[in-house]
């Protein structure tokens, strides 16, 4: 086996030579430019042999150890390589779910397309009345011969405007409620009857969409896991999201924290003193640095544990919760240090990037489970406190 240092320098050299110079384009209404950018980058990764670093080799991945993955992501963040947000669902959600619960045909068709950047995936879990309360899914799937006919809508679907496939969870048993009677489907986003409405986000990009289904026919062979077993399949999907899939953004936050400290060293206040000489600024930066370091250690710790289990446990929720909140804290302080300059949003690139990231950071404590839901999960699954909906039941 190659030494760690040799591996690190190989990764660093490759990234230096291959990370695109041009910044990632904004996510527009049609998402076209961003999608093309991501496909190109994923293809570059694939051709360089760096796609699917955490995928098993039998599926064309690199099957890196946790340590190698961490080194990869450290270097990735250091090189300021493209944000993989738009590819996240395919690479870290759909693919692991297919590997775990999919049929051989499903795996054979989809996995290599995801890996090569040929297929972009989006998620189809949340509905307007099933966000935090995911089990309240209403979107209906009716089995007709060898198809499922889907009617209803989904919302908060990231990048649906450009996606090729969707992991779609619908209620296939009309008599069921809550966790029962759901099914996890592979939905071709070009199927007749699908309408996508992009939603403008507070940072000026179209991060999310609403998706409407009007008699959309999906072959039964696109069910992943068994019909009616969608909840279990979805939980496996989400467990991946809460586990090691956050290493990339985790490493990026460390870099951001360091950049902010450098900014405070060089930017001057009205009297010409570096901002960092202000004791309150220094205390808060010191605090952030300690917390960001601790978070990274928690990621390493969690990765070390995940290595011994197939599906990460609820501890991954710790990382997800803290990551989202700490990111907001970092950008809040950044806005404060920018002072009046924080009003000049500009083109969201270069100097204005922290302003853009500041606005975008509001999504972190909402998307993929609000901070409140994450705290419920920690309290109920790890500390075994009574369920929160016990209150609602008694009141009702």
């Amino acid at each position: 086996m190659k030494s760690e240092a040799a591996f690190q320098s190989e990764v660093r050299q490759w990234l230096q030579a291959n990370v695109p110079q041009e910044p990632s384009p904004p996510i527009t209404r049609d998402g076209g430019e961003q999608a093309a950018y991501l496909r190109r980058w994923q293809r570059t990764l694939f051709e360089g042999g760096w796609a699917g670093i955490n995928w098993p080799t039998e599926y064309g991945g690199r099957g890196f150890t946790q340590r190698e993955q961490i080194i990869w992501y450290e270097e990735y963040a250091r090189a300021d390589a493209p944000d993989m947000n738009g590819l996240f669902v395919g690479m870290q959600h759909a693919a692991p779910t297919l590997m775990l619960c999919g049929t051989e045909e499903q795996k054979a068709f989809h996995l290599s397309r995801i890996l090569k950047g040929e297929a972009i995936w989006c998620q189809g879990f949340s509905e307007s009345n099933a966000g935090s309360d995911l089990a309240n899914i209403r979107c209906k799937g009716t089995v007709e011969d060898d198809h499922i006919v889907v009617n209803g809508s989904k919302i908060w679907t990231s990048f649906a405007q450009a996606a090729d496939y969707q992991e779609l969870v619908v209620r296939t048993d009309p008599e069921s409620n809550r966790q029962q009677g759901l099914s996890w489907l592979i939905c071709d986003m070009r199927s007749p009857g699908i309408t996508v409405r992009p939603i403008l986000s507070m940072d000026g990009e179209y991060h999310n969409c609403e998706v409407f289904y009007d008699n959309v026919r999906i072959p039964l062979t696109n069910v992943v896991g068994a019909l009616g077993d969608g909840w279990r399949v979805s939980m496996a999907t989400l467990a991946f999201e809460r586990g090691t899939a956050f290493i990339e953004s985790q490493m990026r936050l460390s870099v951001t924290g360091g950049t902010l400290i450098n900014y405070a060293r060089h930017a001057k206040d009205e009297a010409g003193r570096p901002l960092i000489d202000d004791a309150s600024v220094a205390q808060r930066l010191g605090n952030l640095r300690a917390r960001a370091t601790g978070l990274r250690s928690m990621t390493y710790h969690s990765a070390a544990r995940a290595a011994t289990q197939n599906i990460p446990g609820p501890e991954g929720t710790y990382v997800a919760l803290m990551l989202a909140e700490l990111k907001q804290e970092v950008y809040r302080l950044w806005m404060e240090l920018l002072g009046p300059a924080g009003l000049e949003y500009g083109d969201a690139q270069g100097l204005a990037a922290p302003i853009h990231q500041y606005l975008f950071s509001y999504a972190g404590t909402i998307g993929g489970g609000t901070s409140e839901i994450r705290r419920n999960i920690i309290a109920e699954r790890i500390l075994k406190l009574p369920r929160h909906d016990a209150v609602a039941e008694i009141v009702a």
Binding site: E4, R67, I70, I71, E74, A77, R78, M251, S254, V255, G257, G258, T259, I261, I276, A282, Q283, L285, G286, N287, R289, A290, R291, T293, G294, L295, R296, S297, M298, Y300, H301, S302, A304, R305, E315, Y318, L321, M322, E372, R374, R375, N376, I378, A379, E380, I382, L383, K384, L385, P386, R387, H388, A390, V391, I394
Partner: protein, 327 residues
């Protein structure tokens, strides 16, 4: 990047220690006032805790720094005196400087070494320095066991009445400094480990009460205001323990960023334990404010551990000054 986690063997040693502490130093000792920790110091010594990572040739158990960390974490759960850290380090220093009598007295628990805060205006405060006047002093990269005359030092009233506090002018002491950054950092690390153990206890105590205390017809842990505070303590416990393991890994392998990770571990654990201890009092409501429930003891012990060896205000500044690679 190295990240060492305890092996199954290390964990099982650790469980032995927990059983021993639960039997001999239960938290109820504070209320019954039947057990004086100082009088039982030799019982602790019988577990070999003062020489865990000392080479066998020096009378120790020849284990690793991580084993010290695990032991201190367990001791932290039971609010064992920070003189444990003072004594573990004092044993190492005594061994390195060939003070065999002192070394053996400390290992056997006949003597114990207190531990000091950083000097302010030339004074240091000493926690659990006994009448024989032995205590650990750490200043940046150097460390010393001070063997002073404590007979005429007045005992001060400490915020935490389970420990003894006194104060002395640093000038009046003959300090035989040992330049040894690793040992100085190990002292910080072991205090961080004690805080991690304390966090575990606080977390269990708050969650236990939230599960069992019933108001408005349901356990108060069903209310999100309580539940979310408990979740934050659980997160803090995992966060601080992870950072402490990271710091132990860095220090054990003599990594360039060892100081950064160790100071971060100590600062984080102190800050987070303080928040957790505050919330634990709040969860207990009126009883949390009384002397009859241990919540206040945990808060007070956190204050003591947080201040030992380094004022957190200065540590935060130091973290910015330490140049580490961004990643």
């Amino acid at each position: 990047m190295t990240f060492v986690t305890p092996t199954p063997d290390q964990w099982s040693l650790c469980r032995g220690m927990t059983e021993f502490l639960a039997g001999n130093f239960p938290l109820s000792r504070f209320r019954s006032k039947q057990i004086s920790e100082k009088d039982c110091w030799q019982d602790l010594a019988s577990m070999g805790v003062f020489g865990i990572s000392l080479p066998e040739a020096d009378g120790g158990m020849g284990q690793s720094l991580l084993d010290d960390v695990l032991a201190c974490r367990e001791a932290g759960r039971y609010l064992i005196s920070p003189a444990l850290v003072g004594s573990i380090l004092a044993v190492k220093i005594a061994a390195q400087t060939d003070k065999i009598t002192l070394r053996d007295a400390l290992i056997s628990g006949l003597s114990r070494a207190g531990i000091a805060t950083t000097a302010v205006n030339g004074d240091v405060q000493i926690v659990d320095g006994d009448s024989d006047g032995i205590f650990l002093l750490v200043q940046a990269d150097r460390i010393a066991v001070v063997n002073s005359d404590a007979s005429n030092r007045p005992t001060l009233r400490c915020i935490d009445d389970a420990v003894q506090l006194d104060k002395t002018e640093i000038r009046a002491l003959a300090v035989d400094w040992l330049e040894n950054k690793s040992l100085a950092l190990a002292a910080h690390l072991l205090l961080a480990a004690m805080l991690c153990g304390l966090l575990e206890t606080i977390c269990e105590m708050a969650a236990d009460y939230a599960r069992t205390r019933v108001q408005f017809g349901r356990p108060i842990g069903a209310f999100q205001a309580i539940k979310h505070g408990c979740a934050d303590i659980a997160l803090a416990t995992e966060l601080c323990w992870s950072q402490t393991l990271q710091a132990a890994s860095a220090l054990q392998s003599d990594a360039a960023d060892a100081e950064f990770h160790v100071l971060t571990a100590k600062l984080l654990a102190g800050d987070e334990a303080l928040k957790a201890a505050r919330f634990n009092i709040q969860v207990h409501g009126g009883m949390g404010f009384t002397d009859e429930v241990d919540a206040h003891r945990m808060l007070k012990r956190v204050h003591v551990l947080h201040q030992l060896l380094g004022d957190p205000r200065l540590v935060r500044r130091r973290l910015l000054d330490l140049s580490v690679e961004i990643i």
